[in-house]
């Protein structure tokens, strides 16, 4: 606050502001200079000071003692009740902004990550009854999921020849556990790999790969699951496992007889698998689908 101007003397408002130290530094300095040279203003200031002191003294007569403890406690209790019934400290506008940001984030993540794209694509296919129309097809193409989604909606992919029927879904749980524990059966004839099985087991999905072949290369490639682990459980000749940021590759470089176990965390709802030279397949890992079975046609594998 600054001093008012245009008068030879300070106004009462200036004197009160000066007395209460409500003026800025320069105004306080100018007021002090004036009061040292103007007896009239100094006298008025002194008069206001005395009145202020008298008022303070008289007003103190009205002061209560300590507030009534019961009323004080009631006030505090009312305040505490208000704290608990308050719906939210966040203003409604801010809540809407947060909700909108969450939706944008979900959509962004949905289309920016492979599992998210697969999830969205799965929803599109399901919404279209398994037969996407032109618009849905374009959306699937945009999501890069068109060719992968077809196997998801279908029965397990069987490259050649037809594997044993996946009866696991209908079998009792104990029976399924027993079968998942034992090694996969060997290939029936040269040129074909043993069946490649994915078996959900607890928090993981176990891929058992019993490679029995006299020629060619058997290869299983799992993309974008770098956290997967794999180990050769029998025989070690000519086998190769490569893990990288882009996924896990397991293959035989020559005729082999080896059993592999690959553990994939079940938190991956989708994985991409390429078996042999077959097209890449998107697998939706779910408990309802207990088993996937592939065999590799070694005689047609591009890696031979």
């Amino acid at each position: 606050m600054t001093l008012s101007t245009g008068s030879r003397h300070l106004g009462d408002d200036d004197l009160i502001a000066y007395m209460d130290h409500q003026l800025d530094r320069e105004a306080m300095r100018l007021g002090g200079v004036h009061l040292r040279t103007c007896a009239e203003c100094a006298e008025r200031l002194e008069g206001l000071r005395q009145k202020s002191a008298v008022a303070t003294e008289w007003l103190s007569l009205l002061d209560p003692g300590a507030p009534d403890p019961a009323r004080r406690a009631a006030a505090q209790a009312a305040m505490e009740r208000a704290r608990f019934r308050r719906p939210s400290a966040v203003p409604l506008g801010a809540a809407w902004m947060k909700a909108a940001a969450a939706i944008v984030l979900m959509v962004g993540v949905g289309v920016a990550t492979e599992p998210g794209r697969a999830f969205v694509a799965d929803g599109i296919v399901r919404a279209s009854g398994g037969n996407p129309g032109p618009t849905a097809t374009r959306m699937l193409e945009w999501l890069g999921q068109r060719r992968q989604l077809a196997p998801v909606a279908m029965a397990p992919v069987r490259l050649a020849p037809p594997p044993p029927p996946p009866a696991a879904a209908a079998a009792p749980a104990a029976d399924r556990a027993e079968r998942s524990a034992r090694p996969a059966p060997p290939a029936a004839k040269p040129g074909m790999s043993a069946p490649v099985r994915f078996l959900p087991a607890g928090p993981d999905v176990t891929l058992t790969f019993a490679s029995v072949q006299s020629v060619g290369i058997a290869q299983v490639w799992i993309r974008e699951v770098p956290q997967a682990s794999a180990q050769v459980v029998t025989h070690y000749r000519g086998e190769e496992m490569v893990t990288s940021a882009s996924g896990l590759e397991v293959r035989n470089r020559e005729g082999s007889r080896a059993d592999y176990t690959i553990i994939i965390p079940a938190r991956y709802r989708y994985i991409r698998v390429r078996v042999g030279d077959a097209p890449e397949v998107l697998i939706h890992i779910s408990k309802s689908k207990q088993e996937w079975i592939w065999t590799v046609n070694l005689q047609t594998s591009a890696l031979q």
Binding site: I16, A17, D20, V54, W58, L59, P67, R71, A78
Partner: protein, 176 residues
Amino acid sequence: MTSGTPPSEERLNVTQLFQQHYDGLYRYLIRLTGDSDLAADAAQEAFVRLVERPPQDRHVRAWLFAVATNVVRDNARARARWVTLLMGSPDRAPMGDVAPGPDAAAESAERRKVVRAALDRLSWKERTVLLMREEGFAHHEIADAVGTTTGSVGTMIARALNKLAGELAQTSESLR
């Protein structure tokens, strides 16, 4: 003049704020209204509103006093009750914590009655600015509370002091 700390620091603990400011707010409201029930009601309402709609950009203490002042002013029922009580028992304001003897008590009651009457002859704004100044608020905080400019607060304080001093001077003479 004290103005407290910014809301961002103060608002975190309303229980602590209650402990810090309730007694001062109650004292101010007793002076303002002369009615302990009305003062307690207004103080409670101010703290409830503090929880429900905390101030975004004002110092909490000044905000509490302004809200409580508005509660008293805007509550027509309470104001009518206050006037009635004043007419029926002008010295109803709570006593101090010293128990005086019979003569001293009578004189003290008379002096409270006088100052109460002198305050009541001030306008609402004059009374509010005067009492908020007594509580140590800055002029801009007083201006916010009564809805006026900072510059006019000094004028109102001076006018209130002159009026009150005139009333009290006459009373002092008559009491002698």
